[in-house]
């Protein structure tokens, strides 16, 4: 046997062609292909809607026959709705698909998670809020004023089924407003969280892998961002840029990533010390492969948990801003209707009370969910 391991033609058993593996990963994996196709389709739809369509005209306006009646489906998505679509795509590809691909792991997570009854109930509640918030307004339409039915009581206090949760001072149904508010809260919570995760991951991993002065500058910037009381920074930015929903979500996203970023950086630094990554490095794996195959799967649990626990703050901040009157005047937010109900406390207590209960329950559910996720999937917080 001759020792020719240093010739390029060598085909030793421990010789792995990492470039080929990387290339194969991109070329052969249908998941990645579909991922990009779905992303491109969404972008094309947005571009078509944005460039060629009059914003006042609906993108889609069809009558669906349902046998006994026809249902008019009218879609006119705005920028926020496209971002929401992007967020749902991200949830599908980054959460649902990985869970479906490894059923063993999913079962184990589920066993841990199921032990927490409050969290299971929270998950169901939030799923209902999300689905009803996304689809509900399409079916029941926007709340419209009816001056013949002002301050009508909810049905359990002797009102009619036309307005199950009563009406406000302009005769707009609280039920419809609450459902419109579900949509807004979910959009704010989920989209802003996506922005937070993306920014925090990019900056955090860049800092961890670059080290040196890049790390120092980036982390000092994060320190500065975290020193700033976030609520006042948001208030100031809303004052300057206005509070339409799209802008507000962007502002919430770009002001809120500091904490998650620190977490990503410290996780990334710790993980790179671990043996499986050293082993991969020793075997000659490229940086790209290590990050994709070893780092992201091991850091993602921590990030998802931290992000879930950040959602309550985002939803509450949007509600407070809407309550103070700095929100989007075209959008029915829970905070806005609570502010309106403030003037009717003596005559129509339900106007401020009922939307507030939904807000409280939603925030509580996200807190329960985040806590349970931390116990079930976050390796840093194993329960004893």
């Amino acid at each position: 046997m001759s020792l020719e391991t240093d010739t390029p033609e060598s085909t030793g058993i421990d010789d792995i062609d990492w470039e080929e593996i990387d290339a194969n990963a991109v070329r052969l994996d249908p998941e990645i292909f579909y991922k990009y196709v779905s992303l491109v389709l969404l972008c094309l739809l947005w571009a078509y809607d944005y460039i060629y369509r009059d914003p006042r005209l609906s993108l889609l306006d069809v009558d669906i026959p349902l046998g006994f009646t026809t249902f008019n489906l009218e879609l006119n998505p705005g920028n926020v709705d496209y971002l929401m679509g992007l967020t749902l795509l991200a949830m599908f590809w980054w959460v649902a698909v990985p869970l479906a691909r490894s059923p063993e792991m999913t079962k184990q997570y589920w066993r841990e998670f199921r032990r927490n009854k409050a969290a299971v109930a929270s998950l169901v509640f939030l799923a209902v809020i999300l689905v009803v918030g996304l689809i509900g307004p399409l079916i029941i339409g926007r709340p419209s004023s009816d001056f013949g039915a002002m301050h009508e009581a909810p049905v359990f206090l002797g009102g009619t089924w036309e307005y199950p949760l009563g009406t406000n001072s302009r005769g707009e149904g609280i039920f419809k407003i609450v459902i419109a508010g579900m949509r807004v809260s979910m959009q704010v919570g989920l989209i802003a969280t996506l922005i937070v995760i993306v920014l925090a991951s990019i900056v955090g991993t860049t800092a961890a892998f670059s080290g040196g002065w890049v790390d120092e500058v980036l982390m000092r910037f994060v320190d500065l961002l975290m020193t700033f009381p976030t609520f006042f920074l948001i208030l100031f930015l809303v004052y300057i840029y206005g509070g339409d929903l799209f802008m507000l979500i962007v502002i919430l996203g770009i002001t809120g990533w500091g904490g998650v970023c620190r977490l990503v950086r410290s996780e990334a630094l710790q993980r790179t010390e671990e043996e499986y990554i050293e082993a991969a490095e020793a075997a000659g794996a490229t940086m790209r492969y290590i990050v994709r195959r070893h780092l992201i799967p091991n850091v993602s649990n921590t990030v998802i948990t931290a992000a879930t626990l950040a959602i309550p703050f985002l939803i509450l901040t949007e509600a407070v801003l809407a309550f103070l009157g700095f929100g989007d005047p075209d959008v029915w937010s829970w905070g806005r209707i609570i502010a309106e109900g403030r003037d009717d406390l003596g005559t129509a207590w339900w106007v401020a009370t009922i939307p507030g209960i939904f807000l409280f329950a939603t925030v509580l559910a996200f807190n329960f969910l985040g806590d349970a996720l931390r116990d079930a999937i976050d390796p840093r917080h194993q329960i004893r």
């Binding site: 982390m219 320190d223 500065l224 020193t227 700033f228 009381p229 976030t230 609520f231 006042f232 920074l233 208030l235 100031f236 930015l237 004052y239 300057i240 840029y241 410290s266 630094l269 710790q270 309550p312 509450l316 509600a319 407070v320 309550f323 103070l324 009157g325 700095f326 905070g335 609570i338 109900g341 403030r342 406390l345 003596g346 207590w349 401020a352 009370t353 507030g356 807000l359 409280f360 925030v363 509580l364 807190n367 329960f368």
Partner: protein, 326 residues
């Protein structure tokens, strides 16, 4: 690195942070459309005037037609010399408006904050020393609900029950009430309660988490083994080592929460403190006043962070002066 070097570095960093934040604020104001000029342009347009001219007039009055570096130097100098300009709505120096408002904010914020810190620490320590007991369960559940409760909604609910329906407490704040009087407390009790609940939940959670580390520490076991009574044990061996990180959290974390809650509470109960001033300035687009009322919490946060770090280094012999660890 020794302690002096660390502290002076920390002070320099605080100054630098202030500088950066002010520069950033200036940059934002410079590049973005001025809400006030836009409003002037809009009203000119609706009244048949020239919107551009109105915009320029506002810019000229405010000195915004000069080159940006002159404006920048002016802005920084006036910020550091506390010459914060005149409020458009009150027609007086911003400093006067602030000085008139701040006693109300202090009266509103300080009592419930102290009460929340004491009660929060007490319940948190009880929770951790009686882990998994009924009391612990109730305490942690209370903290959980407190964290999720939307403050502004809670304030309105309290107002509805106690002021509107029961009529026990006044609905609106009355500035003619004597500041140092029992009557004043009747006006402040609901706002106090809202701020207290806003702050206590996080205090409890932190206190519980921090002290939990020491409940089963070796020195606690030793002390218990030699027969120390539980009260002294809890106070001296569990609470004391946790106190330093807790102080840190109080200063660092609470400033933001308290100020944000105070703003909303002042708006709801119409207490004429800094929060209400800030809110009205935002609504009426009184930029100098907006700037100052928003910068006050920011600077308090910076100074708070600085004091916290300095206190930490002086109080805790275990601290290392390494800047950061993974």
């Amino acid at each position: 690195m020794n302690m002096k070097w660390y502290i002076s570095r920390r002070v320099l960093w605080a100054v630098f942070a202030t500088f950066i934040i002010l520069t950033f604020t200036f940059g934002l104001l410079l590049i973005s459309p001025n809400p006030e000029a836009s409003a002037a342009a809009f009203s000119a347009a609706t009244e048949g005037g020239d919107p551009e001219e109105a915009r320029e007039r506002v810019a000229e009055i405010r000195g915004e037609d000069r080159p940006w570096h002159e404006q920048y130097v002016d802005f920084m100098v006036s910020m550091f010399t506390l010459d914060w300009g005149n409020s458009f709505t009150y027609h007086e120096p911003v400093v006067d408006t602030i000085l008139r408002a701040y006693p109300y904010s202090v009266a509103l914020v300080v009592p419930p904050t102290i009460a929340a810190i004491i009660a929060g620490f007490a319940i948190g320590v009880y929770s951790s020393t009686h882990q998994y007991s009924l009391g612990d369960f109730l305490g942690t559940s209370f903290a959980f609900f407190g964290l999720s409760l939307p403050n502004f909604w809670f304030a309105i609910m309290l107002m509805m029950v106690f002021s509107v329906y029961l009529g026990w407490l006044p609905v609106r704040y009355d500035t003619s009430v004597e500041f140092w009087s029992l009557e004043h407390i009747r006006y402040l009790i609901l706002p106090w309660f809202v701020i207290w609940t806003g702050a206590i939940a996080s205090e409890m959670r932190y206190a519980r988490a921090e002290t939990l580390e020491y409940v089963n520490a070796a020195w606690t076991k030793t002390a218990r083994a030699k027969g120390l009574d539980e009260t002294t044990l809890t106070y001296r061996h569990i609470f004391r080592p946790a106190l330093i990180p807790l102080i840190t959290i109080v200063i660092g974390d609470l400033v933001g929460i308290i100020f944000a809650t105070a703003l909303v509470v002042e708006v709801i109960f119409t207490v004429p403190g800094l929060g209400l001033i800030s809110y009205q300035a935002l609504v009426r687009q009184d930029t100098p006043l907006v700037l100052v009322t928003i910068m006050i919490p920011v600077f308090i946060a910076i100074i708070g962070n600085l004091l916290q770090d300095v206190a930490y280094t002086m109080l805790d012999p275990r601290i290392s002066y390494e800047e950061r660890d993974a």
